[in-house]
C-alpha cells in the first residue's frame, strides 16, 4: 500500500488548502479515501457525529502534479485512512509560499501521512518542513461503511440563496435558537424560521429557482405531481447549518439543497473540481 503525491503549482496548493480548511471546519475526524483518480473525504452518519454525514469528492488531476497510489490489492485499488483534517490544514497553512509540497504515506512508528514542504530560503539549500500526521488505516472489511450516499427521495429541491447572505442570517439566528426550520417549495421560495418563547423570526427568499433533476423513466419521485406552492420543511440543528456555511471559503458554482420533509436536508455544493455533499438529519 503506497501513496505519493506532489503539488508544485501555488494556485493548486492554495485551492487544495482551501478544500482542506473547509473539511476541517466540518469534521473533527474523517475518512480519506484514495483511488487512482480521486480523493474522497467522508464522514459517515454515526451517532457520534450527530447524525450528519459528508461526502466530498476531488479529482486528483486538478490539484496534484504527481500522484501515485497503490491500494491494498490489485482488485481493491483503494486506500482508506482515518485522519484529523485539522492537522492537514495546519500543515498546509504555512506552505503558502512553498516551492513544492510532497505528501506520502509512511509507516515509521505508526502509519502517518507525511507532508514535506520545501520552502524558499536565502541560503543555498531550501528549508524543509515536515509534518507527520498520524492516521488510522481502515481495513477492507469496513470499507462498506464508506460508500457514496445516494440522493434521498426528496420532496423539494431548490437552489440556495447567496451563501454569504444565508450565512449571516443563520449566524444571527443562532444566537436566538438551537434549531432552525428550513422550508422550501417548487416555486423557488425558501424560508428560514426560528421560533422561541419570546420571538420568532423568518427570513424569506424568493426566485431561487429549482434544479431540474433528470429522473429515470418509470421512476416516481416524491417531487413529481407535487403542488408547486406547498412547502417541504425540516427542523435541523442550527449549529450544523452554520458550520456548513461558515466553512465555505469560496463561493460554489452551484449550491442547492434537497429537503425530505421532516426527515433530512441534503446539501450539494459544487465547485469546478470539488463537490461537497452534506446531510443534516431533522431533529425529532
Amino acid at each position: 500500500m503506497r501513496f505519493r503525491a506532489k503539488i508544485v503549482d501555488l494556485a493548486c496548493l492554495n485551492h487544495f488548502s482551501r478544500v482542506i480548511n473547509t473539511i476541517a471546519k466540518l469534521a473533527k475526524t474523517c475518512t480519506l479515501c484514495l483511488t487512482d483518480s480521486k480523493l474522497y473525504f467522508i464522514l459517515s452518519d454515526k451517532v457520534v457525529n450527530g447524525g450528519v454525514s459528508m461526502w466530498c469528492e476531488l479529482c486528483q488531476g486538478n490539484f496534484f502534479d504527481e500522484f501515485q497510489m497503490e491500494g491494498v490489492a490489485a482488485e481493491h485499488n483503494e486506500i482508506y485512512l482515518e485522519l484529523v483534517p485539522e492537522n492537514l490544514s495546519r500543515a498546509l497553512k504555512t506552505a503558502q509560499s512553498a516551492k513544492a509540497v510532497k505528501i506520502k504515506l509512511t509507516n515509521k512508528h505508526c502509519p502517518c501521512v507525511r507532508v514535506a514542504v520545501e520552502l524558499p530560503s536565502l541560503s543555498s539549500s531550501s528549508r524543509i518542513v515536515t509534518h507527520d500526521i498520524p492516521v488510522g488505516v481502515i481495513p477492507r472489511r469496513l470499507w462498506n461503511d464508506f460508500r457514496e450516499p445516494s440522493v434521498p427521495d426528496f420532496d423539494v429541491s431548490i437552489y440556495l440563496p447567496v451563501l454569504k447572505t444565508m450565512k449571516s442570517v443563520v449566524e444571527r439566528m443562532k444566537n436566538l435558537s438551537n434549531s432552525i426550520v428550513i422550508e422550501a417549495n417548487l416555486s423557488g421560495e425558501m424560508n428560514l424560521k426560528i421560533e422561541t418563547d419570546l420571538v420568532s423570526v423568518t427570513t424569506h427568499f424568493k426566485d431561487l429557482g429549482n434544479p431540474p433533476w433528470a429522473l429515470e423513466d418509470g421512476c416516481q419521485s416524491s417531487a413529481q405531481g407535487r403542488d408547486l406552492e406547498s412547502m417541504a420543511e425540516a427542523r435541523i440543528d442550527i449549529k450544523k447549518l452554520q458550520q456548513l456555511l461558515a466553512g465555505q471559503q469560496v463561493n460554489p458554482t452551484k449550491a442547492l439543497c434537497n429537503i425530505v420533509s421532516k426527515r433530512i436536508v441534503h446539501f450539494i455544493l459544487l465547485h469546478e473540481d470539488v463537490s461537497l455533499q452534506y446531510f443534516i438529519p431533522a431533529l425529532a
Binding site: 475526524t29 510532497k102 509507516n107 515509521k108 541560503s123 509534518h131
Partner: protein, 419 residues
C-alpha cells in the same frame, strides 16, 4: 517581560538599569539591561556616594498600566522620568506630556534581593547566531499552543527544530512537525554535533494564549499593553532587527538567548528538559527517533502492516479493530481534565532561600501541566520521567543570611563575570 512573570524587578547598577522577570516555576528568566547611554540622564545611586544601590520589584500590572497605550504615548509624551523614593516607599514614574500636562504615577514597590539566574554563556558547548527573522520564520510552522520544542544539531550541518513528543502513545496521536535549517542560514554556528535540547517555546515566542492557562507561565492579562514592542523576545528582536544568539549545552542545563545592541543587552534563560536516560546515551537517542535525512528513500511500505491488521481483524470477528490513530486507552482522559491549580506560594523573602521553589515543579508531559515532582503521577513511567529542572538562582545574600543549601543542584556554574 510581562509575558514571563507577574513582577518586574528593577535594579539600577553602574552599568545601567536592569529590568528582570522570572516565571513562577523558575524555569524562565529574562533581563533587559539598558545602558546609561540609553537614557537622557541616568543616576544610579542616591546623593550619598556609598549607599548600596537600591533594588526593588513592582507588580508588572501596575508598571505596565502607566504605559498603557503605546501609540498615544508616542504622540503625547515628551519625557519620562523614573525615580525611586525609598523613604516614601514609592517608585515614581512621571510622564511629561504635551500641553504642560504631567502625569505622575506612584507605584508601591517591595524591596527584594537580587534576582539573578546563574548561567554562563562562556561555558555553553554550543552556540548559534541568526537574524531574528530566520528564527521567527522557523517558529511560525509550529502551532501557537505548542509547549516544548527540541533543537537539534543534526548530520550534514542541519539545524532542526521539532515539537517535542514525550512517548510512543503521544507520538501515534500527535502531529509532529520538523523544520530543518541549513547551517548557512545562521551567522555563526558553533555546535556540538548531535547536540540536542528541549525547551519551552512559549516564553520564547509567546502566543496570544488562546489555550487553557499553562501552569509554568503566568496567564497574560488581556488588558495589558506591553511596554516593549509586542510579544516575546523573538518579536522584540525582529522589530529591533537584531540577531539573536542561542547558547546551549547538554540537556538539563539552561538555554540562553541573547540580544545585543549598543544600548541594550537582553538575556532570556530557559530551563531545558533533562532526560535521565540521556545521561547514559548519546543525545540523539534520548527517546526520540533519529533525525531522518530529508530524502525520499525511506521505506514506506504498509503491506505487512495491513496484512497483520486484516488477519487479526478477521480473527476477532465483528467489531471495529482499535484504531491505531485514536487509541482507546483511558490514560488520555487525564488530558481533558482541567489542569489542577498549583499552589502558588507567595515567597516573602525571596532572597533568603535560593530560588528553587518549595515544591519542585515537574513538567508532566502526559497531563501537559506542571505537577508535583515526586513521581505520584501514575502516568509517568518511572525510568523515563523527564524533568525540567528549575533554574538555579543565586542570590546576593546579605552577610549573616542563610547559606546555600549544600544539596542544591547547580545547573550552571556561578560566574564572576556576570553582572
Amino acid at each position: 517581560l510581562s509575558r514571563i512573570g507577574d513582577e518586574l524587578y528593577l535594579e539600577p547598577t553602574e552599568s545601567g538599569l536592569s529590568l528582570r522577570a522570572v516565571n513562577s516555576s523558575r524555569s524562565a528568566f529574562a533581563s533587559f539591561l539598558f545602558a546609561p547611554f540609553f537614557f537622557q540622564r541616568y543616576e544610579a545611586g542616591g546623593p550619598q556616594a556609598d549607599t548600596e544601590l537600591f533594588r526593588c520589584k513592582v507588580l508588572m500590572k501596575s508598571f505596565l498600566g502607566v504605559f498603557r497605550s503605546l501609540p498615544s504615548l508616542e504622540k503625547t509624551v515628551g519625557k519620562c522620568l523614573i525615580l525611586l523614593k525609598p523613604q516614601a516607599s514609592r517608585l515614581v514614574v512621571q510622564l511629561h506630556c504635551k500641553y504642560g500636562v504631567t502625569k505622575t504615577h506612584n507605584l508601591a514597590f517591595q524591596e527584594c534581593e537580587r534576582l539573578q539566574a546563574v548561567f554562563d554563556t562562556q561555558h555553553c558547548a554550543s552556540s548559534l547566531r541568526a537574524p531574528a527573522r530566520v528564527l521567527a520564520e522557523a517558529v511560525v510552522h509550529f502551532p501557537q499552543t505548542l509547549a516544548e520544542v527540541t533543537l537539534e544539531a543534526g548530520p550534514g550541518g542541519k539545524i532542526s527544530l521539532r515539537n517535542y513528543v514525550e512517548d510512543e502513545a503521544e507520538r501515534s496521536k500527535m502531529m509532529v512537525t520538523e523544520l530543518c535549517l541549513a547551517e548557512d542560514e545562521f551567522q555563526t554556528v558553533a555546535v556540538a554535533p548531535g547536540s540536542c535540547i528541549t525547551f519551552c517555546l512559549k516564553e520564547f515566542r509567546v502566543s496570544p494564549c488562546r489555550g487553557p492557562p499553562s501552569q509554568h507561565q503566568v496567564t497574560p492579562q488581556p488588558l495589558l499593553n506591553l511596554l516593549f514592542v509586542p510579544q516575546g523576545l523573538l518579536a522584540f528582536a525582529e522589530a529591533s532587527n537584531l540577531p539573536l544568539t542561542i547558547h546551549y549545552d547538554v540537556p538539563g542545563r539552561p538555554v540562553i538567548f541573547t540580544l545585543d545592541d549598543a544600548v541594550l543587552e537582553v538575556h532570556l534563560v530557559l530551563a531545558t528538559l533533562s532526560d535521565t536516560e540521556s545521561n547514559l546515551q548519546p543525545p540523539t537517542a534520548n527517546g526520540m527517533s533519529h533525525l531522518p535525512a530529508p530524502s525520499d528513500d525511506f521505506a514506506d511500505d504498509l503491506e505487512s502492516y495491513m496484512i497483520a491488521m486484516e488477519t487479526s481483524a478477521y480473527e476477532e470477528g465483528s467489531g471495529v479493530p482499535p484504531s491505531p490513530t485514536f487509541p482507546l486507552h483511558t490514560p488520555r482522559a487525564a488530558e481533558s481534565d482541567p489542569e489542577e491549580e498549583e499552589e502558588e506560594e507567595e515567597e516573602e523573602d525571596e532572597g533568603a532561600v535560593p530560588g528553587t521553589p518549595p515544591h519542585k515543579k515537574v513538567w508532566d508531559g502526559h497531563r501537559g501541566a506542571w505537577g508535583q515532582g515526586d513521581g505520584h503521577s501514575p502516568l509517568l513511567t518511572p525510568h523515563l520521567s523527564p524533568q525540567f529542572r528549575s533554574l538555579f538562582f543565586g542570590s546576593v545574600l546579605t552577610p549573616g543570611g542563610p547559606g546555600l543549601a549544600p544539596t542544591q543542584e547547580v545547573l550552571a556554574e556561578d560566574s564572576d563575570g556576570e553582572y
